[in-house]
Amino acid sequence: MYRAKLLNRTYSYLFLLIGLLIFIGPLLWLISTMLKTQDQTYVFPPKLLPDPFTLSAFTRLFETMSLMPRWIANSFSVSIINGLGTILTSSLIAFGFARTKSRLRSWLFVVVLATLMIPSQVTLIPMYILFSKIGWYDTWLPLTIPVLLANPYFIFLFRQYFLTLPRELDEATYVDGGGYWTIYSRVVLPLSGPIIISGFIFSFVFTWTDYFTPLIFIQSEKLQMMSVGLQLIMGKNSQDLPMMAAGSFLALLPIAVIYFSAQKYFVEGVVMSGIK
């Protein structure tokens, strides 16, 4: 019996390690590549540990792509704006759906869910035409305003959380003479720490990794985001693997830092939106 269990456990670890190789191996290889010289990437057979290792890829990256710091700063700005803005608008909207007693709630919420299903392509081109006409093209507004006003995912996420808070709290506030605004700002928000953090993180990550929206709506390289900047690196230096790896690493780093320091909130957010 004991032996069988030990054997089982050995197999479990074996499979877990194979999986680890698949999921983390490519990232380790990315880090290895960015620490090599260009010549080292052509060495056969390839080596995981660069010998000697060098940071020259980063030097080349910042020399040939002089806008790199700008792109990183742009991505940070827009991601933070979207993160904070999402908390504000989604919590207000979700509060309306979760806590008021209006008769319109349920069918309008079906409309919100329906917009989750509509592919963004359908509205994308008219939005491009609209934004061109009202002077929003080549500004950050198309990257932020639609996310803040109409992102069904975050409305759904916040509503799910608000529904878990006991309704007696509302009643008590109401009896004390407080209206919905008091309930929202004094009762519900102070209890919503975890979902506020999850909402910020998710909105930040979505904006940071989004490639398509800036590709369509931003033209000036100065205003561009890191994701499109990375593609510009690919376009100009597709032979320089270490430099491309260095750029990818910089694009990944902030997300990885957030993930490892706030992992609990990632899990909570996904699970909250996932089921029921």
Partner: protein, 299 residues
Amino acid sequence: MIRKWREDGAFLLFISPWIIGFLAFFVGPAIASLVYSFADYNAITKPIWVGFDNYAKLWSDEVYLKSLRNTLYFVFIGVPVTVGFQILLSLLLNIEVPGIRFFRTLYYLPYLVPPVATVIIWLILFGSGDGVVNTILLWFGGAQIDWMGSEGLIKPVIITIGMWMSGGSVLVFLAGLKGIPSSLYEASRIDGAGRVRTFFSVTLPMLTPSILFTVVMQIIYYFQMFTEAMLLSKGGPDYASQTYMMNTYQVAFRDLNFGYAMAQSWVLFVIILLITVALMQSSRRWVYYEGDEKGGSNG
């Protein structure tokens, strides 16, 4: 009565940001795209109304048809393969051994890698001459493979990207697995069912709500596939990885044929709608909901 009106007023006030956004960024654009799909329109000169020409043209547009077939390949082959893989992974990560949290944390990480960075990683891994994958194949006595240049292989290679980013779905499945009452496993053990039998008659039926959710999310992912196909192989070779979204993007922003692109968007919307409705309809037969005697296997 007044109380009710006040309730509606408060509700509408709270959701007013969404109402503005919904009208400006969903309803307005959707109507505009439907209207312009019947026109020759380049956003600069005035639209010329052409009736159903844009829709009729689709049937003889070879590149369009190929992009549609590619996307359906992703949906009908990529989705089942990816979801099956994700279920196996979540079973593996559900084993309670010391250190399992460490594995769960790291398996999730690829899900967060920005798509452009993922493409760069894949270019490094699957490079034709000196890529790591080819080197490993060579060690095992295999041949060098031109992954990006092969019409038959490029789509599977792109699917491996989706599989690598399984983390999000795996979390959903893990939560689903946690929700299965242990009494069911005990009952199954008492009945003398083996592991495989238990998986098919307890675990899988109890996971069906998570499976439905994940399948819908994966369908949306593969229908909107853009970045990976665009940057990894530029839709090639010979349009073998041209996806629907990529094709529409090029028709709009490269050819400035906005009317035609909007017709394509609407056709895609109808296709997604039909597939989703069919899936939801069929789900009544295969998704198990607690308290619902008809669904699932109770035997």
